[in-house]
Amino acid sequence: MSAVFKPDETFRNDFTFRNSPEAIRRFPLPFVEDQYMYSVNIEPHMPGAKGSVVEFAFDVDEHYVAECRERAMVLDAEPLRYQALPHMMSAQWDCLELIMESLARDYPAHFSLAKRANRWHWINKPLGIDQEFTFGDPSTLPREPLDFITRQAQGDFVVMDQRDGDLWAEAGMVTTPADWSLDFDIGMTFKEWHGPVPLAHEIGVFDRALKYLLNLRLGQPVRRLNWTMTVNPRLDTSPENYPKWGPDRATVTRQNAGDLVHLRVELQGLWRLPRSNAVLFGIRCYLISVRELSTIPKWARRVHRALKGLHPALVDYKGLTRYRDTVVEWLAPFDDGSPTTPGAGPD
C-alpha cells in the first residue's frame, strides 16, 4: 500500500495509535472459521492481492515511521533486545540484503539500493537515512548489519542457524514481542524456544513444523498467521516490561473493552538465507482495536464466536483469562447469529 505515514502516533503512554479505514480493511484476520484451533497453517509467502499485507515480502504500512521510532526507544532503554551470536555474521548480511532488496524493489518511492560490486548505497527516505557501505565489511556500517536494517523494518526478527537437525535461535531484534524474550531464548533449539506453547506439542505441531522448516528452500519463503490480544495498542509487551503492561489487564470493563482491547496478529514469514543457510523468522505485528474490528460486520460476528469458543488452555496461554469474557460481552450485540462467509476477508 502506498502509505501516508503517521509519524507522531504512539504505542505507549497516551497511545495515539489508530488504524485508518483502509488499514482496517487490509487487517490480516487470522480466523478463517468461526472456531479457532492450532494447525500447521503454513503457506507459500508468494505475493498476494494488491494492497493486502502480503502483497510484498515485507509490508510497509502507515505505521512504519512511528513503529521504527518506538523500536529505537525500546533499544535505548534495553540494548539487549538486539543480540547476535558471533557465528551469525554471514546470516546478518543475508538478512540485510534480503530486506534492502525487497524494500527497494517493492517501495521504490521510499527506498533505494544501488550496488557497484560490493559498494552499496542505501537510501531510506521516510527515516532520512543515506548510507554507503561495503557489503561484507561490518566496519563500514554504524551498527551490526542485522541491527542496522531491522531498525528500519516493522516487526521482530529472529535468525535461526541450522545444524544437527535443528534450528537454533541465535540472533534477533525483538522489541514488539507477545510476552517472550530474545535475551531469555537466545541459543535455544526450535522446540525449547516453543516450550511454553500448550497443546501444540502434544498434537505434533512442532515436530512437523521443524521438519518442514529444515527443508525450507531458497527462493520459496513461507508464512503463517498467529494471534493474541493486548490491552492498549502497546507493541512492547515483553516479559522485561511486564510491570508496565501486566496491570493493564485489570482495567478492562464492559464500557471500555472495545477501545482498550486489541487483537494482535503476527504475520510470520520464514526465509531460507543463501550464504549462511540460516533461516530468517519475521514476526510482523498488526494491532486493531475491538471497536475498529467491529466496523466490519462479518468480523464482529466471527471474532465474537472464535473468542467465545476458545479452548481454555489457549485462553490462559494467550493471557486473556481476565478479560476474554468481557470482550465477548462487548461483541455480543454485533452478532445476530447469521452465518459468516467463508475465509477471513471482509465482505
Partner: protein
C-alpha cells in the same frame, strides 16, 4: 513443497579434469547473477532428452562469493542410467540446461572448533566450496583427499593454491590410504568430521568416529547415490489411481514423474528424506538404497524413498 523453481543456464566452459571427471561452468541465460549459496550446497540439473528427463544432483564447487556462474564436477558413472553419460557425451559449450535453486544438506557446523574434511574421488566437490569459506575464517581445518592415482586428483591445483599446507593427498596406486583410526582418535574436543566419497569410505569414517566416542552430531557425510539399475516392476499409485511401469534403467521417482504425478523432492539421492512415501501394500521385497531410513524403519516394509529405492515384487501400492 512442489517442484523446485528452476533457472535456465547455459554451459560456458567444459574441461576434462581427470579421465572420468568433467568440470562444467554454468551461467544464467537471463544474464542476472546466480542466487547466492552456502558451501556444501547442491543443485539438481534437469536434462531433457526426447525420450526422458533426468534430474541429477551435483554439488556446487565454485566459490560461494562468485555468482557470475556456478561450477559442477560430473563423474562418468560406469553403470550409469544415462544422466552422467548425457552430461559427458551430449552437453557441449552453449548447451542450455535447467537447474533447481541450491539446497544445502552438507553445511559446515558454524560453532565447530575444528573441521576435518575427508574426500574420496568425486566427493571432493562440496569441499571445494567449503574451502573458500574456511580459508577466510579463523577455525582450523584439514583436508584428507584420497584418489585412485595421480591422474584422478581432480581440482588439485586449485586446492593447493587455496589451501596448500592443509591438504594431505592419498594415492591408492601408490599404496597410500587414510589412517582413520590415527586421524579420528586424536582430535581436539569440538572437532567435526565431514566425509564425502564412496559408501565404503563413509561407513568406515562413521564407524571409526563412533568407536572413538565422537557424538553423532559431530559426524557429517553426504553421498548422492545414483539411482541403481534393477529389475523392472509395476507400482500402483492409490490416490492418483494409475499404474506405473518402472523399467530397469529408470528410477521409481522418475517413472512416477513421467506419468505426470508430482512427488516432492529435494536431493534425489537418498539423503534428505523429503520424498519418503508410504507403502500401502506389498507382495515382494523393497530394495532400499537410501541413506535416510534406519535399518529398523527399512525392516517395517511400510515406507520407501522413490528417488533411489526400488522393489522386486508382484505388486506394490504407494500412497501417492
Amino acid at each position: 513443497m512442489s517442484e523446485a523453481q528452476t533457472l535456465e543456464v547455459e554451459v560456458t566452459a567444459i574441461e576434462q579434469v581427470t579421465p572420468l571427471i568433467k568440470h562444467f561452468k554454468l551461467r544464467p541465460v537471463s544474464g542476472d547473477a546466480m542466487p547466492a549459496f552456502s558451501g556444501g550446497s547442491h543443485i539438481v540439473v534437469v536434462m531433457r532428452t526426447p525420450t526422458r528427463v533426468y534430474r541429477n544432483p551435483y554439488s556446487l564447487l565454485s566459490p560461494p562469493h562468485r555468482l557470475d556462474s556456478y561450477e559442477i564436477g560430473v563423474r562418468r558413472m560406469e553403470e550409469s542410467r544415462g544422466g552422467s553419460h548425457f552430461m559427458h557425451d551430449r552437453v557441449g559449450v552453449g548447451t542450455r540446461l535447467e537447474i533447481a535453486h541450491p539446497v544445502n544438506l552438507f553445511a559446515l557446523d558454524k560453532i565447530a572448533r575444528k573441521h576435518v574434511l575427508i574426500a574420496g574421488g568425486i566427493g571432493i566437490t562440496p569441499f571445494m566450496a567449503h574451502l573458500e569459506d574456511l580459508h577466510e575464517g579463523r577455525v582450523p581445518y584439514e583436508l584428507h583427499y584420497s584418489v585412485r592415482g595421480r591422474e584422478h586428483a581432480a581440482f588439485l591445483p586449485r586446492i593447493l593454491e587455496r589451501t596448500g599446507e592443509r591438504v594431505r593427498m592419498y594415492y591408492d596406486s601408490e599404496g597410500q590410504s587414510i589412517d582413520f583410526d590415527g586421524l579420528l582418535s586424536n582430535q581436539p574436543l569440538g572437532t567435526h568430521v565431514y566425509v564425502c566419497g564412496p559408501a565404503g569410505m563413509i561407513d568406515k569414517v562413521a564407524a571409526t568416529a563412533r568407536e572413538w566416542g565422537w557424538p553423532d552430531s559431530h559426524i557429517h557425510w553426504e553421498q548422492f547415490s545414483a539411482p541403481p539399475v534393477g529389475d523392472a516392476f509395476d507400482v500402483f499409485l492409490a490416490r492418483s489411481k494409475v499404474t506405473v511401469h518402472v523399467p530397469p534403467d529408470q528410477s521409481l521417482l522418475e517413472s512416477i514423474e513421467a506419468q505426470g504425478v508430482e512427488v516432492p523432492y529435494l536431493c534425489r539421492g537418498g539423503v534428505c528424506g523429503f520424498c519418503q512415501t508410504r507403502v500401502l501394500e506389498l507382495d515382494g521385497e523393497l530394495i532400499h538404497n537410501d541413506h535416510f531410513l534406519s535399518d529398523a524403519e527399512k525392516a517395517k516394509r511400510n515406507t520407501i524413498m522413490p528417488c533411489v529405492s526400488r522393489a522386486r515384487c508382484k505388486s506394490l501400492v504407494l500412497d501417492l
